[in-house]
Symmetry: C2
Amino acid sequence: MDRYPFPVARVGIIGGGQLGRMLVKAAKQLGCSCIVVDPTPGSPAGQVSGQQIVADSHDPQALLELAEQVDVITFDIEDIDVAILAEIAAKGHHILPSCELLADIQDKLRQKRLLTRLGIPTADFIAADQVDTEQLADFGYPLVQKARRGGYDGRGVVVMKSAADAGQVLPVPSLLERFVPAEKELAVIVVRGQDGEVRSYAPVEMCFRPGENILDMLLAPARIEPQTAAAARRLATEAVTALGGVGIFGIEMFLTVDGKLLINEVAPRTHNSGHYTIEACITDQFEQHLRAITGLPLGVTDQMLPAAMINLLGAPGASGAPVIQGLRAALAIPGVSVHFYGKAQTRPFRKMGHVTVLDADIDRAREKAEQVRALLAIGGQNP
Amino acid sequence: MDRYPFPVARVGIIGGGQLGRMLVKAAKQLGCSCIVVDPTPGSPAGQVSGQQIVADSHDPQALLELAEQVDVITFDIEDIDVAILAEIAAKGHHILPSCELLADIQDKLRQKRLLTRLGIPTADFIAADQVDTEQLADFGYPLVQKARRGGYDGRGVVVMKSAADAGQVLPVPSLLERFVPAEKELAVIVVRGQDGEVRSYAPVEMCFRPGENILDMLLAPARIEPQTAAAARRLATEAVTALGGVGIFGIEMFLTVDGKLLINEVAPRTHNSGHYTIEACITDQFEQHLRAITGLPLGVTDQMLPAAMINLLGAPGASGAPVIQGLRAALAIPGVSVHFYGKAQTRPFRKMGHVTVLDADIDRAREKAEQVRALLAIGGQNP
């Protein structure tokens, strides 16, 4: 019979944001202890871990200090200096997903090239170190410029429909990608264990506000044909297997107007589109990630009830200490779960929390989530 | 529209055990901050709250210090000096459930008298300050002796079938209760808001090991007729309403062999029999308690899937740092969620965690829970 000491594993988390926070909660339940590295004292994850090294993710001393106190290191952000991680790994410390894979994924150009090499379908693209108008025109509109590094939550991505949009070009090393006329955008959460076992959750539908690159609502499961859902899960599983990843991966993809599936982006970490699993699934994405990186068996991925999820973003123009409007009204709606991330300061569009709505009828879940969005707002003391 | 600052409420918790720990997790999600009072540094709840006053629940200074830093005080234990709480309440601090109600409930004799006065059916009883053999014989066997104070997890309760058991008598102020031949023991989790709204979860079935007073397994929902389930919910609701309680209450009751429902005991706090709600319900008992005591609207109590729950007790004879046996094997069973409480030392029969198993078929859930019980054991470094 297997035997574990207590804690079952000491887990180091680089990045102490909301993903780390939810990971810490799952970790403690599973008998693991956590140390978080984050530059903000009392970070969202640090508030629940009880142990935080206050340093940024590029600080070699801090990361080594972390490594020496834990059994396995993981991360809730991608913007980490992989050279530092490689040195730590070379000393025999465990980092999952691996720093080689993180290096391949955190640079969107390398990610695209790798996926292409592995035979995973993605939109056509070219590298573009210094983008100029001529290059844009040569590639042809409509196109998408993606910064190679540091993009997040829609930042670092510009859609250009025609030459009239060329003025929005980002002055950074990028890739140019063919704009994909998508019927829907989907995300599949995949977990892969150290033994190579892979499991996926049902595809979720990512709804964006027209003309904006910010996620508006997430519907789980996606409103697509069963054979499309099965194909999306197969593709996501194939991608994570080909990448050799261990842990949770968020696989964003396009369902094109002609019914094809193309992978848009791979996130080597727990993913915003998987938050609904906390309420809707027996084993959520955070516990799955921990099971995978600590070598425990994977959990089930079945969904108990349909879900709609919205992010709670800081209101435009508001900053300072948060002021929550409409909380009572939102919580009065049956099936609503509100998650706050413990951030002491709000800023316009900052992710301050999220709301999951469960309902046996997904259309009713969506309607309730829309009601919540109309009711609940995160203002600030500096309005 | 309603407006809340952040944190939404500062919650003080007297007692930092597992109930407090799960309460803190729910509180942080709901945007509340928590301070825990517990004599053990790094208590289960203190590990996640980030703020603990190291003191025991009878320390007037510590409780006043707590009161001055929070908006509302609640508790995860009943063994609190209510005179101290009354003084704090008199200064205008909020304590929920109220200290008057806690005083009535923490003394089992007062609790029985109150329930009787309110017309709530319970087993017949008499007060017994100093129990002697003659009094036992006069009352008549079979009977149950219950200590007025300090009973917990089966401690402070002795079942005497005949005069041969009289030697087990507890030398403490007690009540003697008619032994109830029960078909089943049930528990109903009830939440009551500040506005008097009451909601109940479906009755759960408490299965005890033959001849022992320790909970063996909990099945949710209970395997009883729908009309019995409805009657149990009505009775539990009636009791909490009559008591005027605010927050979560665990109402234990007997279903007698002749089909009657008698309340056995009222717990003025989140309850072991409600742990299954974490996975099986959208709004769990911990979030419900917080919603109630902070004046937020109550959540839904519907159950998504049947559940079986077992407590993880320290193995007999084992002590010291825990050694967990069979964790991998247990987690490999589909639908198993393991909860550890973060206790650094095990002792025989100490509650170290619990396991919830969800399955669409409650009999399969029960079988899986039995498998987990056979596989998973909490040994100690001092075996």
